[in-house]
């Protein structure tokens, strides 16, 4: 499913989107499939599937540890695409990974493998617009959205350029820093949402972990909330994972209605 279709569907229902993240292969490919099912059952509208990389510089300790567990359990890009292809949920899947895995596979092949596995969006946290031309072309060519990021320090021309390039949605990094749970919603989040001017859905991520934060972000004008580390922490605990993941997703989704 394309991301745009999902947002259109939600608009009809007057709902905002919950975008949930899990690291593929943590703790196993089979488990990830079940977790994705639980996320969607709980109310996730879009699922971001991390493709684990050895050196995830934009991630905090929680997702770093998840990547390490997944790699140690044997996850690799070939398995990733195989697993993604076997997921039957009716939601858009988005691949989040670092650029070297894409570069090594080849931009065109990577985008094509995504399309064939039913992945309709790609987020690459270490690929700024300046370096993204080849992947951008490959994504267009294969009908996959390439999602760019806006941060509290992205202003002026950079902001315009990133908004012009992004498709599917724009990923608003709510604060300076790496991924991970935080207790509050940063003031900077509201500032960005106030100064951003675009038709593309605005998804806010980094630090959101509960329904109250999600509600605040949505009230400030976001079209979607992205939640990662909070789910990953549940997965890491290994206790009642599917039930708890589903429960958290449904709590968060309530804030999106």
């Amino acid at each position: 499913m394309r991301i745009g279709d999902k947002f259109a569907e939600l608009k009809e229902k007057n709902e905002k989107a919950l975008i949930a993240y899990a690291c593929a292969g943590d703790p196993s490919a089979e488990a990830t499939k079940e977790i994705v099912h639980a996320l969607v059952k709980g109310g996730a509208d879009i699922v971001e599937l991390g493709m684990p990389f050895s050196d995830p510089v934009a991630d905090g300790p929680t997702i770093q540890a998840a990547s390490t567990r997944a790699l140690e359990a044997g996850m690799n890009p070939d398995m990733y695409f195989e697993m993604a292809a076997s997921i039957e949920e009716n939601v858009p899947l988005v691949c989040m990974t670092y650029y070297n895995l894409i570069y090594k596979r080849g931009n065109e092949k990577f985008a094509k493998d995504c399309a064939e596995a039913g992945i309709t969006g790609i987020i690459v946290p270490d690929l700024p617009a300046e370096e993204a031309d080849e992947l951008h072309v490959a994504c267009k060519h294969n009908g996959v959205d390439l999602i760019f990021l806006i941060t509290p320090v992205t202003t002026g021309k950079r902001m315009e350029k990133n908004l012009e390039k992004t498709s599917g949605f724009v990923y608003i990094v709510s604060r300076l820093g790496v991924t991970g749970e935080r207790v509050d919603v940063a003031e900077s989040t509201k500032n960005i949402l106030a100064r951003i001017d675009t038709e593309v859905p605005k998804a806010v991520g980094f630090g959101i972990s509960n329904g109250q934060q999600a509600a605040e972000v949505i009230k400030a004008g976001a079209d979607a909330v992205i939640v990662g580390s909070a789910f990953v922490n549940i997965i890491a605990s290994g206790e009642n994972v599917n039930e708890r993941v589903e429960k958290l997703a449904s709590e968060l989704k309530i804030s999106c209605r």
Binding site: F53, N100, Y103, K104, P128, L176, V178
Partner: protein
């Protein structure tokens, strides 16, 4: 070609949050690099604080043994014991002109961290250094030194617990504190403009060599040999000679145990010699990776060379054939460590020992001719920091021999 590129290498593969900071840094560097006041202040620090210029020393005993003229560029005599201070003084001064309050750095051998701590203490910055937990152990004297000068040292427990992981952690800090913090990278690696800035500040080494060798020998050397981890001492001594095509340039990488890789790790750190193209820590360069693009852990007896990547400009110069990458293994480097100590009364850093070992190795295999008869070796640092590690290795060897 984009101006962030070195041939087909380089670029700026970093999180969006850092892009404005890289632009700000590049603009500040362009503004101050020829500014008389900045240069005057830098010159003062280089002379009075770092102790430049360093001698180009004729190693008479080494020369006699090998039958060619060998000069050592004595970067081991720079304050702190390595070439690293040339770069930290330059960048710290730049950060001061930019109004930054805090410096962060990664370190492998601890030499760059120490040099950062020195510059920070002297110029009044708050500073924090990231160091792989494995390196904290094998270079712990340097940890004390940094702490003495007021730097906070963070042991990094992720990944291979060496230089690569320390850089990851420093990048994470920078992403979080980018508004008032300058990331003082210690080698010619990372996103543009770092490879250019570090190269320029280290080029003082090569510029001095040019004048000194003309004075002593009336000509340029036939070859220049320097060890290469990230490649800053190599770029520093090579760069002023790039246009002098008759001068051969040899970056010596750590061959480790052997030039092989297992599924998860390389038994060496020779990215220029056997690495492949990829993206690591902000740059498109030559890296050690598996078939999927996961970064392999590297290995070397020397912490400062133990890195899975190499500066993009070195990758470019190797690509166009201007430099000749080569390796020596752990044992050869150790042998050179002993030999220079015994023959010249100079204890080299294990990193620099690789450069010396290359000359010894060429002699051993009967190819010394390829280096010509006037050779300059960059003695990038002194070996005091390595004594404990070397003695431990020796003990282990003796134990093994007894069993």
């Amino acid at each position: 070609m984009k101006k962030s590129m070195y041939g087909k290498f380089g670029g700026q593969f970093v999180p969006e949050v850092l892009m404005p900071a890289l632009t700000e840094l590049e603009e500040a560097y362009e503004r101050y690099k020829d500014d008389p006041e900045f240069l005057k202040e830098l010159d003062f620090y280089m002379k009075e604080f770092a102790g430049r210029e360093t001698p180009l020393y004729f190693a008479k005993n080494l020369s006699k043994k090998y039958g060619i003229k060998i000069y050592l560029k004595r970067e081991d005599l720079v304050h702190g014991g390595a070439h690293k201070l040339n770069n930290t003084l330059g960048q710290a001064l730049l950060a001061k002109y930019m109004g930054k309050k805090r410096l962060i750095a990664e370190t492998g051998a601890g030499q760059h961290g120490t040099a950062t701590a020195m510059a920070a203490a002297n110029m009044g910055f708050e500073s924090e250094v990231y160091m792989g937990a494995k390196d904290v152990i094998r270079q712990h004297m340097n940890v004390y030194r940094m702490e003495l000068m007021g730097s906070k040292v963070n042991a990094v427990e992720s990944g291979s617990k060496t230089l690569k992981d320390a850089i990851n952690e420093a990048l994470r800090d920078w992403v979080t504190n980018v508004e008032h913090t300058h990331y003082l990278i210690g080698s010619v690696v990372g996103p543009h403009p770092y490879p250019m800035i570090v190269r320029d500040f280290q080029s003082v080494i090569g510029k001095e060599v040019k004048e000194q060798i003309m004075e002593k020998e009336g000509r340029y050397p036939d070859s220049i040999v320097a060890c290469a981890g990230g490649g800053s001492n190599a770029m520093g001594i090579f760069y002023p000679f790039i246009e002098d095509k008759e001068v051969k340039l040899f970056p010596v990488e750590a061959g480790g145990k052997e030039l092989k890789t297992t599924e998860k790790e390389a038994l060496h750190s020779a990215s220029l010699c056997v690495g492949e193209e990829g993206i690591l820590q902000g740059a498109h360069t030559l890296i050690l990776q598996d078939k999927y693009g996961q970064i392999l852990e590297s290995s070397s007896v020397s912490a400062g060379l133990d890195y899975s990547g190499v500066g993009p400009e070195l990758a470019h110069l190797a690509d166009i054939g201007r430099i000749t990458p080569c390796t020596v293994n752990d044992d050869e480097a150790l042998e050179a460590f002993y030999e220079l100590s015994r023959l010249e009364g100079i204890i080299p850093a294990l990193e620099s020992s690789h450069a010396i070992a290359y000359v010894m190795k060429m002699a051993k295999i009967g190819k010394l001719e390829e280096l010509g008869d006037l050779v300059v070796i960059n003695l990038s640092g002194r070996g005091d920091k390595d004594l404990e590690a070397v003695f431990k290795l020796k003990e282990e060897e003796t134990k093994e021999a007894c069993q």
